[in-house]
Symmetry: none
Subunit: 208 residues, 4 copies
DNA sequence: CATGAATGAGGTTTCATTCAT
DNA sequence: GATGAATGAAACCTCATTCAT
C-alpha cells in the first residue's frame, strides 16, 4: 500500500491552489515550491516539469471520463437510439456527473486554467466526439427520408448545427460544474438544461 | 482628421498578428517591435504598456457593440416584448453581426486570445446583461401567472437556466464569428441556431 | 564611426578571461556579467546567447584565416606546385602567422576552449582542406608514374598518411601559437618545424 | 578472485556509453543511473563521485601504459640508443599498441572526452616524458660534437623542436587509435607514420 | 548493498519596462 | 517622435551530491 510522500502531497495541494488562482501559465513553480516549503529540486524529483505537475492533477480524472464516454460510443448502439431518453443514456450522464464532482477541483482546473499546459484540447476532444455522433444521427435521418438510393451528405448548415449542438451538450456539463458547487445542486439544475437542449434539438430536427 | 503615424499603424498590424498567434500572455513586445522594425522606446511612446497595446486593437470595436446593446436595453421596451420575433430585435442582431464582422480580427482576438490582458471579462459582461434581461422576462411571466399579489422571486433552477440561456445566446454569436469567415456564411448559419435557441427557450418556458 | 559601447567592450573583455580560464562550457554567464558589473539583461541586449558571446570573440579572426586559405586554394595553382618552397607559399604562411598573432587571444580561445560553443570544428575544417590538398598531390604523383592509362586511387595507407600530414601541418601552426608568446619567437621556431615537416614528407613520398 | 557486482558492471558499461557520447562534463550521472536501472545512492556506494566513475573506466589502462613506458625509460639505456631501430624499441611500441587496443574504448574516452574529469593531462604527461627523452638525446649529440669541455644547453629553438617531436610521437599513437578500428588496420598504417616521423627527425637532426 | 527523497546552488534565458539622449 | 542601452526580477530547469533508512 504505497503511501504518497508527504512532500508530494503538499506540492500537489499547493499547486492546485496556485494553478487555480493564476492559471497554468502565470503560476510560478518557484512560488509553489516556496509555499509548499519544498525545494525546487524536490519538486523535480516528483514531477518531470511544470506540465507534468499540472498533469498529475488532472490526468486521472480526465482518463475516467474518457473511459465512460468511449465505452458508451464503442457499445454498438445505433446512432438513432443514442442520445434519446433511454435509461442507459441517463445512466451515462449520471456516471459522468458523478466523476466530474468526485474530482471537481481537477476539472475546474482543466476547464478554466489549462492554457499552456498541453491539456487545453480536452474539452475540444469531447466536443469532437459528440459532434461526430450528431453527424451520424442527422445522416441516418436523412437517409431514412430519401426515397431513391442516392448517397447523401451533410449541408454546411447542418454541419455547423451539429457542431453547435455538440458544443452545447458538452458545455452543459461544464456549466453545471462551474456554477453548482455540489452534486445535489447540479442534479437540481441539470434537468432544466436537458429539457432546453432537447427542445432545441427537436425544434431544429423537426418532429419525428 | 488625425492621421495615425506610420509607426503606430505598423505596430498595431504586427501586434494583431502576434497576439493572434500566441495569445496576449505569450506574445512578446520585443518580438512585436522587432517585426515591426520599431524600437521599444517608440512603442512606449504610443502605448502605455502591453495591455494598452492590446486594448488599442479591441477597445473601439467593443465599445461599438456595447453601444448597440446598451441602446437596445435602455429603450423602454417592456421585457416581454424583447427578444421575440419583432423586427426591431432582428435589426439589433443584424447590427451586432455587422459590427462583429467589420472588426472580425479584433473580436477573434478579444474572444480567444485575451487571457491576461484585462479584457477577459468582456464576454462575461455581455452575458450578465443578457442574463439580467432573461431574469426580468421570467419574473414578469411568473407575476402574470400569480393570482394573489404576493412578491415572487426566481428559484435557483430558474436562475441557473436564465444564465445558461444568456450564455448560449452570446455564444451563438461567438460561435458564428469563429466558424464562419464571412458574414455571408454567418447569415446562412445563424437562422438554424436561432431556431434552436428559440426551440429550447419555448420548450423550457412553456407554451405560448 | 560607430564606437562600441563601453558595456559591450567590458563584457567582451571579461568573457574572454572567463572562457580562457574555464572553457566555454564551464564558464558562467552569471559570473561574466557580475565581473563586468553588468546585468544579464544588458548582456542579452548585445549577444543572442552564450554561443554568440563566444562567437563574437572568434568569428572575425576565423573568417580572416579562412579567406587567406581559401584564396590560396582557389588560385589555380596545380597541386604539384603547391606546398613547395615557392615564395608565394611562404607568403601565405606568413599571412596566416600574422593573422594568428594579431588575434592570438581569440585563436587560443578557439583552439583550446571552444568545446560546446559550436566552433569546435574549425581546426578540423582546415585539416580537411589540407587533407584534400595532399590527396590531390599524391594522386598526381601516382598518375605521373603510371605507364598505362588506367585510373588510380589512393590506398588506405596513403589516405591515412595524407590526413596525418595535413593534421601535422595545421598543428604546427597551433603548436607555435600556443608555445610562442610573440610572433618574433614564432619566427624563430617555425623554420625548424618546417624543415621537420618537409623531411617527413620527402622521406615518405620518395626521392627528390 | 574479486567478483564485481552486477550493479557496478552495469554502471560502468552505461557510463562508458554516456561519457563517450557527451563527454565528461555534459554527461549526467542521473542519466547514467537511470539508463543503468540503478539508484544514485547505489552509484555512490561504488564510486566516490563523477570523476571517480570516469576514473574507474580509464585508471587501469592508463597505469598499464605508464608502466610500459616507465620501465622502458628506467632501464639504463643510454639516450643515444633509445628511439632508434633497435628491436627492443620496436617491442615497446608493440606493447603500447597492444595495450591501447586491448582497452581501446577507455583510451578513446581518455583522449577525446576527458575534459573536466581530472584526466585531461594524461597525454601531456606522456608528452613530457618523451620531450625529456629527446632533450637528453639532443644534448648528448651536442656534447659529442663539442671540442672543449664547456657546458652546453639547448637553444630555445631546439627546445621547441624537442617538444614538437615528442608531441608528434605521442600523437601518432593517438591518431592511429582514433582512425583505425582494429589493431590489424593500425599495423598497416603505423609503418608509414613511423617512416614519416623518422624522416623528419633525421632531416632536422642532421645526417647520421 | 541499496533506496530514493531531498538539497540548494547554479545554469541560461526572457520579459516588460524605463530613461537619458 | 524616436533611439537603444540598461534594468532586474523572474522564469524553468539541471546538477552532483548527501543521508536517513
Amino acid at each position: 500500500m504505497e503511501r504518497e510522500s508527504e512532500t508530494k502531497l503538499k506540492l500537489l495541494r499547493v499547486a492546485k491552489e496556485e494553478f487555480m488562482e493564476k492559471g497554468f501559465h502565470k503560476a510560478s513553480l518557484r512560488n509553489i515550491c516556496r509555499k509548499a516549503g519544498v525545494t525546487t529540486g524536490a519538486m523535480y524529483f516528483f514531477f518531470r516539469d511544470k506540465a507534468d505537475l499540472f498533469g498529475s492533477l488532472v490526468r486521472e480524472p480526465v482518463a475516467k471520463i474518457k473511459t465512460i464516454v468511449d465505452d458508451y460510443f464503442k457499445g454498438d448502439i445505433p446512432p438513432l437510439y443514442r442520445g434519446t431518453d433511454k435509461p442507459e443514456n441517463l445512466v451515462v450522464s449520471m456516471k459522468i456527473l458523478n466523476t466530474l464532482y468526485t474530482y471537481r477541483d481537477s476539472f475546474l482546473l482543466l476547464l478554466t486554467k489549462a492554457e499552456g499546459s498541453g491539456y487545453e484540447k480536452v474539452k475540444e476532444d469531447f466536443t469532437d466526439q459528440a459532434d461526430q455522433h450528431y453527424r451520424e444521427v442527422v445522416l441516418e435521418r436523412k437517409k431514412n427520408k430519401e426515397v431513391s438510393g442516392e448517397t447523401v451528405g451533410l449541408s454546411r448548415g447542418e454541419e455547423a448545427l451539429c457542431r453547435w449542438i455538440a458544443r452545447d451538450q458538452v458545455d452543459s456539463f461544464v456549466y453545471v460544474l462551474c456554477n453548482c458547487e455540489t452534486m445535489e445542486e447540479a442534479r437540481e439544475c441539470l434537468p432544466l438544461l436537458v429539457t432546453y437542449l432537447r427542445g432545441g434539438w427537436h425544434t431544429v430536427m423537426g418532429g419525428k
